[in-house]
Amino acid sequence: MTIRFEDPNRPNSYIGRTVPRPNAGKLVAGRGRYVDDIVLPRMVHVAFVRSPHPHARIGAIETGAALAEKGVLKVFTGKDLAEICTPWEGKLAHLQGMKTPPQHPLAVERACWVGEPVVAVVGRTRAEAEAGAALVEIDFEPLPAVTDIRTALDKGTPVLHEALGDNLCFRKSNEAGEVDRVFAEAPRVVEATFKTARHTGVTLEPRVIITDWNGADGQLTAHVSNQAPHMLQVLLAGHLDIPESRVHVICGDVGGSFGLKVHVYPDEVATAAIAKIMGRPVKFASDRVEAFTSDIHARDHEATGRIALDENGMILGFDVDDWTGIGPYSIYPRTSAVEGLQVTNLIGGPYAFDHYRCRTSVVFQNKGICAQYRAVGHPVAVAITEGLVDKAAAEMGIDPIEIRRRNLIADDDYPKTTAAGLKLEGLSHHKSLDSLIEAMDYEGLRAEQKDLREKGVHRGIGIASFIELTNPSPFMYGIGGARISAQDGCTVRMDPDGSVVALTGVTEQGQGTEAIMAQIVAEAVGVSPDLVRVVTGDTRVTPFGGGTWASRGAGIGGEAALQAGRAVRQQALEVAAAMLQAKAGDLDVRDGIIVDARSGEERLTLAEVGRIVYFRGDTLPKGLPRELMQTRHFITSDYPYAFTNGVQASYVEVDTDTGFVKLLKHWCVEDCGRIINPLLVDEQIRGGIVQGIGAALFEEVCYDASGQMLNGTMADYLVPMSAEMPDMVIRHVETPTAESALGAKGAGEAGTAGAPAAIMNAINDAIRPLGGTVTHMPFTPERILRALGTITD
C-alpha cells in the first residue's frame, strides 16, 4: 500500500508536517539524561596525562608521587593497558595501499601529537585524579615533528612512523576522459589554489563515557555520548576480548555530535579497559581544553585546481590535486582517508562534463587526528569547484548564474553517472536555481550592489551549487571490512491502550530523530504522534543498526520505521476484521480508530483491539496471527548513495579599510527528497549553514611550525555566534528517491556543504573590482586586507 503523500488531507497525514518534538519538553525542563548526569555506585574518575610534545619518545614514567596523592587509586601506563586491550588500525580493505600503524589506548613508545593520552590516573573524584595526574613524571625525549602538508613526503622530512617507510597514509586518483589533452587544447583554463582550515566539532556536550565491568556476569556496560552504539559495542568487545553479546552500550541524551562522536577514541577505550581491570564503574568526561586537543579535527586541506572551458563557457573538465594532513593515525574504524576520497568523487559534482582528474594525498603529521565531521569532504570539494567556476565566469565576463545555467546537469537528464563515477538517481539543480533567484531577487540585488559600489560600499553576491551524499549503502564502509552497519531497523509495538512504542537503531543527538520517527510511525500505524514513544541508543533493546551519520537517519531508519509501522497496522486490521467479521482490506486506521475505509464510519478503537489481543485472546479464532509488534529492516540497494542537491547564496558587505565581512543575508534551496518535518529540515539547514559560516569566517585550529596548538580555548578558537549570523531564507524542492516508499534523502549536511563556497564567492565578488581574491579559509579581516594589498609586511 502506498501513501498518497501529495494529498495533504489524507488521514493521519503527519509525514510532511511540522509537529512538536516529543523530547523537547524534557530537554528544556532540564530533565534530559546525559552521561554526565549518571552516578553509579562505586564509580571512580579517570584523568589523563596528555603529551605536551608534538612528537616524543616515552622514557621512564614515575608514578609514585601520583599514587601517594590523597584519593588516587590507580595509575595506568600504555604498557599496562596493552596487556588487556589490543591495538587498532583505521584501515579499510577497499582503500588500496592505505597505511596506518597500530594505535593503543595510551601511547606506548612514542607520543605523536599534543594531547595524545599517555598515562591514566584514577581517583575517587575528578579533582583527585587531576591532582594525581599533575604529579606523574614522564621522561619525554622530543623527536622531530612533521607539520607541513605539502612537504610531508619530501626527502628531507622526517618519517613519522619508520615502519611505514614514508608519511603517506593514502593516495588515490580518480580519472576519466582525456584530461591532459583537453587542458592543453581548451580555449580557457583557469587555475587557483585553495585552503580549508583545520577545524573541530565543538559539541555543546563534550565526549563523556562511563564504563562498568560486572565480573559476576562477565558484562561490560558503557553509557556514552555517541552516535553509533552498535558499532561501539562490536569494537569494544573485539579489543577487550569480551563476547559482543556481553557488551551493552547505552546512548541516552546526546548534546550534539556532528560526526565527532562516531569514532573510537583512545581515552574512551582506556576508560573501558580500566573498568575491566578495576571491576568498577569508571567515568571519563572530556573538559573543553582537552576536547580541543583530543576530539577529531577535520578539513585540513590544500589544493590546486584547474577548470577547462570552451569559448561559450561550457565546462570541459576539472583537474584537482588535493592534499590533506590527518595527524599521526588514521581514525578507527572509518579511516581518515574518506574526507580526501570524497573530494576525489565530488569535484564538479553538479555539472555535466567529460574530463576529470582529482588526486588526493593523505599524509601523516604530528597534529590532532582528522576524521569525518559534518558534510565530510563536501565543503572542500564545493569550495574548489565553485571557486573555480566563479573565477572562470569572472574572467570570461559571464554572470555567475548564467555560467551555472549552462553547465548544471539538466533536471531531466537522470539517472546519470558523472565523470567522477557517481550514480545519480534524480536531482533538481535547475529548479533549485530558479527558486533561489526568485527568493533572493537576484536582479534587484545586482542593481543594489551596483548603486552602492558607486558610493564606495563594497557588497558581493556568491552562489554555490552542490551535491550531497546521503543514505550510504555498504559501499561506504562495509565492503572495506568495517563492522559498520549500513542497514537499519525499527521495531514498532502496539500496547493494550492503543499507544505505540518505536525502537530504532538510528540515534538522536539533538537534531530531532525522535520527532521524525514519531511522525512516521504515527502515520504508518494511524495514531496521533503523541501516542508514539521512541526509544533509541540502547544496544540491548533496539534492532541492530548503524546509528546516525552520513545523513542516514530519515532515509534509512525512517523507511524501516514506516514499514514496521505499516506491518503493525496491518496486523491490527487483521485482528479487527476477525472481531468485526469484516475484511481487513475494507477497514482503515484513522487517529487510533478502526474505521470503514469507504464511509469513514467508526467501528472499533485500537485500544479495544489491544484489550482483546492482550487480555481476551481467547475470544479470537485459534491460529489468528496477533503479533502487534513488528520489526522491519531497510537497506538501499539500487544506488550506493542517495545524492541530494541544492544551491546557496550569500550576500555580504566587505569593509575594505578593515577587512571585516558583514553577512547580510543567506539563502539555501535544497532538495532532500521527501520532507518529513519542514521545520526540522529548515533548522538542520540553518544549523549546517552556521557551521559553514564558521568554516568561511571564523574557525581554524592553529598550530605553530613545531606542532604546538596555539588556540585551544573557546576564547581563541572562534565558533560562529548568533550576533554575526545573517537572516537565512530556506526553500525546498522535493525529488523523492524511488528506493523507498518514504522517498526521504538526508538533510543534515547540505547547509555545511555549500555555505563556505557561497561566502567565499560573495567576498570575492565584492573585492574583485579592487584587484583581490581570497581562497584561504577562514577569510579573516587580515587575509582580506592582504589580498587587497593593504597590508604587505
Binding site: A127, D287, V289, T658, D716, P720, A723, P781
Partner: protein, 276 residues
C-alpha cells in the same frame, strides 16, 4: 580541569577584606566578580590562591557625585555602568564602553574595579580611564592613596596596586558641556576582546586617546594626541603607529592591528568633525 584553590573567605567590609588579605600571606587573590579570575582558575593558570571575595561589600557599589568629580565604586557591574543615568551624563565614555564588554552574563557579574585591577591590555575600561584622566583609589593597611590612571598600568596584567591593597573607587572629572567621548573597537565577534580599540575624550580642543588591544598594556597615545591637538590628522595617524606596539597572535598580526588602529582613529576623527 577542576579549579584548585587554597581557600575562600567572604569579606564584609573593606577593613575586613584588608585583614583577610594580610592573613593570606601573599597568596591572597581578590574576587571582585570573577569573570577573569574564575576562568583562569578553571584553566589551571593559577592554583592555591586564597580567594578574598569582596563582592558583598555594598559600599563599593554604584556611582555618586563629589563636586565636579564622579565617584564610581569598584564593585559597580558593567551592566549597571551601561544603565546608570549619572554615569551616562558625567562619563558617557564608560556608558558607551560597557555594552562592548563580552555578553550579558559577564556584564551582570563583572565589575569595573575588577577589570581595572586585572589590567587586561585588551579590555575597554583601562583605556577609558586613561582617556578620561581618571584617578584610582587604593586602600591598604597603610591607608588610602590615589593614583592617576596614567601611573597605574605598568605592564601586562601589572599595575601600581600592591598585593595587600584593594582598588575601591574610580574618580572621574565630570564631562563638561561640549566635551566629546567616543569609543570604537573592532572585534571578530560581538563580545570578543577587540583586535584593536580606541577611547577618545575631547575637551576644549584637546584630545586624550586611550588604546586597547594594541600593546602589552593600555596606552595613552601621547604622540597622536599632540598631532591631533595641532589639527594634523595625517600626522596623528602616523604618530599613533609609533605610540603603540601591538601583539601578534592567531587572530591578527601586529601589522594588521597597527593598520586597524589607524582606520579606527581616522573614523573617530571624522565622527568628531575633522576634515579628512
Amino acid at each position: 580541569m577542576k579549579a584548585s584553590i587554597g581557600g575562600y573567605a567572604r569579606a564584609e567590609s573593606v577593613p575586613h577584606a584588608l585583614s583577610l588579605l594580610g592573613e593570606a600571606d601573599g597568596v591572597g587573590r581578590i574576587l571582585a566578580g570573577g569573570q577573569s579570575l574564575i576562568a583562569a582558575l578553571n584553566l589551571g593558570v593559577s592554583a592555591g590562591d586564597m580567594l578574598v571575595d569582596i563582592t558583598g561589600i555594598e559600599t563599593l557599589r554604584g556611582a555618586t557625585l563629589d563636586g565636579d568629580r564622579l565617584v564610581i565604586g569598584a564593585l559597580t557591574r558593567h551592566g549597571d555602568i551601561a544603565r546608570d543615568p549619572l554615569i551616562a551624563e558625567h562619563a558617557p565614555l564608560l556608558a558607551a564602553a560597557a555594552p562592548l564588554i563580552a555578553h550579558d552574563a559577564i556584564r551582570n557579574r563583572g565589575t569595573i574595579g575588577g577589570s581595572l585591577a586585572h589590567a587586561d591590555p585588551a579590555a575597554e575600561y583601562p583605556a577609558c580611564v586613561l582617556a578620561l584622566d581618571a584617578t584610582l583609589v587604593l586602600e591598604g593597611p597603610a591607608g588610602r592613596r590615589e593614583v592617576a590612571a596614567e601611573d597605574f598600568f605598568l605592564g601586562l596584567f601589572e599595575t601600581a596596586r600592591a598585593d595587600e591593597e584593594i582598588l575601591t573607587a574610580i574618580l572621574i572629572p565630570c564631562a563638561r558641556p561640549g566635551d566629546r567621548h567616543v569609543i570604537r573597537e573592532a572585534a571578530r565577534r560581538a563580545g570578543d576582546y577587540a583586535l584593536a580599540g580606541l577611547a577618545v575624550v575631547r575637551r576644549e580642543g584637546r584630545h586624550r586617546i586611550g588604546a586597547f588591544g594594541l600593546d602589552d598594556r593600555p596606552v595613552l597615545c601621547a604622540g597622536a594626541m599632540a598631532k591631533w591637538d595641532a589639527g594634523d590628522v595625517d600626522g596623528m595617524i602616523a604618530a599613533l603607529a609609533k605610540d603603540i606596539d601591538p601583539p601578534s597572535d592567531t587572530q591578527a598580526s601586529a601589522s594588521y592591528r597597527r593598520h586597524l588602529a589607524g582606520v579606527l582613529l581616522r573614523r573617530i576623527a571624522a565622527e568628531l568633525g575633522e576634515a579628512q
